[in-house]
């Protein structure tokens, strides 16, 4: 286990009754990074986060957060001292006002950032004397984020931080995260199925499906590795089996054959030229395409 990793999981497994929520999940989240944790609904994102924060115990495998074992009760308290968390539903104590829940949360963190509290209260325009159950989802999201950001922690774990928010509120939340990270030394690990959020702020990503990591790495590297090769033939596109490394999907439609590779496009296009296409193009791949293709391969 490396010291430079904020989160590391090795062959992490979780079984609920007859369902395998995690089936050997491997994650490596570098310290200081903004890490997007992508997956479809039910892929195992929330289960992973709950294991990392000691809310759920793994069935097998290892999970370490900030170098500490997540499944050890004592270490988990230390992990939570050094971690801020926003849950998917942004549920807070409905009998407390905004001010009360801020004071309540601040009491658990010796490094509570009163300067940030003032700044975010002002920029989020949170009504101090309003009960949390009277806040809109957007306001509750901002309050949840304030409660996580002001803890003065090394790691932020955000489960679907923009879930249920309108585009304006979503943008505000994402900007707050980016601004915070630009001034504070911390790691952000956020789960989402909104690819635009990841595209906007993440440096590293992992795509999981059915409880397993299927793609992982620095987003720029992945964008460099993934290439779509589009070949157009005079007649019906031939049924080709490519031997070039990294080919993960080939599609034929009339005269057009499209192949997706996660090892660049050079070897693939060299092999394709032997079949005599009238045109051959190497196209960049968007994160959405990487996600959809990776998940489709798993299916």
């Amino acid at each position: 286990m490396s010291e430079s990793l904020a989160i590391e999981t090795v062959d992490l497994r979780k079984r609920f009754d007859a369902t395998d929520a995690l089936r050997g999940l491997n994650l490596r989240v570098p310290q200081g990074s903004i890490f997007g944790f992508l997956g479809r609904n039910g892929a195992g994102k929330t289960t992973t986060i709950k294991i990392l924060l000691g809310m759920t115990r793994p069935t097998a495998g290892q999970a370490r957060v900030l170098g500490l074992p997540a499944d050890d009760a004592t270490a988990s308290v230390t992990i939570r001292t050094r971690t801020g968390f926003v849950d998917e539903n942004k549920n807070l104590y409905d009998y407390m006002t905004v001010e009360e829940i801020i004071r309540f949360t601040a009491a658990f963190y010796s490094g509570w950032r009163h300067d940030l509290e003032k700044r975010y209260l002002r920029s989020f325009a949170l009504p101090l004397h309003q009960k949390t159950n009277a806040l809109s989802l957007g306001m509750r999201s901002k309050l949840s984020l304030l409660l996580a950001l002001c803890r003065g922690v090394e790691l932020l774990v955000l489960d679907e931080p923009t879930s249920g928010l309108d585009p304006a509120a979503s943008e505000e939340v994402l900007q707050a995260i980016v601004t915070h990270v630009s001034t504070e030394q911390l790691t952000v690990f956020f789960s989402t199925h909104h690819l635009a959020d990841v595209d906007q702020i993440a440096e590293h990503i992992a795509i999981i499906d059915a409880g397993r990591t299927i793609v992982s790495g620095a987003l720029d590297d992945l964008r460099g590795q993934y290439r779509r090769v589009q070949l157009v033939f005079n007649g019906e596109a031939p049924d080709i089996t490519f031997h070039a490394p990294g080919v993960i999907r080939v599609r034929r439609q009339g005269r057009v054959l499209t192949a997706l590779s996660n090892a660049g496009g050079d070897a693939l296009i060299e092999e394709a030229m032997r079949f005599g296409p009238v045109s051959a193009d190497v196209l960049p791949v968007t994160l959405k395409e990487i996600f959809l293709e990776s998940v489709a391969v798993e299916d």
Partner: protein, 258 residues
């Protein structure tokens, strides 16, 4: 701050229990006047003419015997009946909820705080038990305070001893509801189950062979009332059961997946 959170979550139930108990406590004192007026009539009856055989007859005879004095009246009406019911019901109400119900959907927020689950349930139990102790003792203090207004007196020591019995046995129903709350997200099923358990235990005490060992026999402090000392064994057993239930609740919670 966990203390404050636990207080905010339970204070509504606590104040309801305290207010209801105080109202009933006042009622008991001023009810004695009406009972007192009936006593000469009861005393003038020919015992031989009363059918005091069977459980109902026996109960009538026991009630008449106990309520000849203010102390007996208080024990019969207050400790043996009203306060017992109130402490059982509010014990269960205060024990229910815990980490799951009252926090609404904010359980994950609670679990994300840097505190152990043992501390979470320990704080919640400590606040709830303190509130139960107040309900078991404070309303009874109106007895020594207001008894002189009807020409009677009542010992503070009696209040303390009976309050201790009420609290210790009442904590069993508190702990049972706390344990059940680990499995039920709402607070009403644990309360209902705890009250059903109490009702079954109460009915069992109608069996003469069981009555002296019954939990409510300990709870109402009958041995103390009859000058036979404190029900030490019953109190120790109740405290042990209560502690075991709370310990089980804490262990269950510590191993639970959320």
């Amino acid at each position: 701050m966990l203390w404050h959170k636990a207080w905010l979550e339970t204070r509504g139930r606590f104040f309801a229990g305290l207010a209801l108990s105080l109202i009933v406590g006042f009622g008991v004192i001023y009810d004695f006047r009406a009972t007192e007026r009936l006593l000469p009539l009861v005393r003038s009856m020919d015992p031989a003419a009363l059918d005091t055989t069977g459980p109902i007859g026996g109960a009538i005879k026991e009630a008449i015997a106990a309520q000849q004095t203010f102390r007996g009246f208080v024990w019969w009406q207050w400790y043996r009946q009203n306060l017992t019911y109130l402490v059982v019901i509010f014990g269960a109400l205060l024990g229910a909820g815990g980490l799951l119900a009252k926090s609404g959907g904010a359980t994950l927020f609670t679990l994300s705080l840097p505190v152990s689950r043992h501390r979470l349930i320990g704080t919640r139990a400590a606040i709830g038990l303190a509130e139960l102790l107040a309900i078991a003792v404070v309303p009874s203090l109106v007895l020594p305070l207001l008894a002189p207004s009807i020409g009677q007196s009542y010992s503070v020591i009696d209040v303390v001893v009976h309050g201790a019995c009420m609290f210790i046995v009442g904590s069993v129903f508190f702990s049972l509801a706390a344990l059940l709350s680990n499995d039920y997200a709402d607070m009403w099923r644990p309360v209902l189950i705890a009250c059903i358990v109490a009702a079954v235990l109460g009915m069992l005490e109608y069996i003469p062979a069981i009555a002296p060992f019954g939990i409510f026999h300990t709870m109402n402090g009958e041995t103390y009332y009859r000058q036979a000392g404190l029900p030490w064994i019953g109190l120790l057993v109740s405290a042990g059961i209560s502690a075991a239930l709370l310990r089980t609740a804490a262990v269950n919670l510590a191993h639970r997946d959320f």
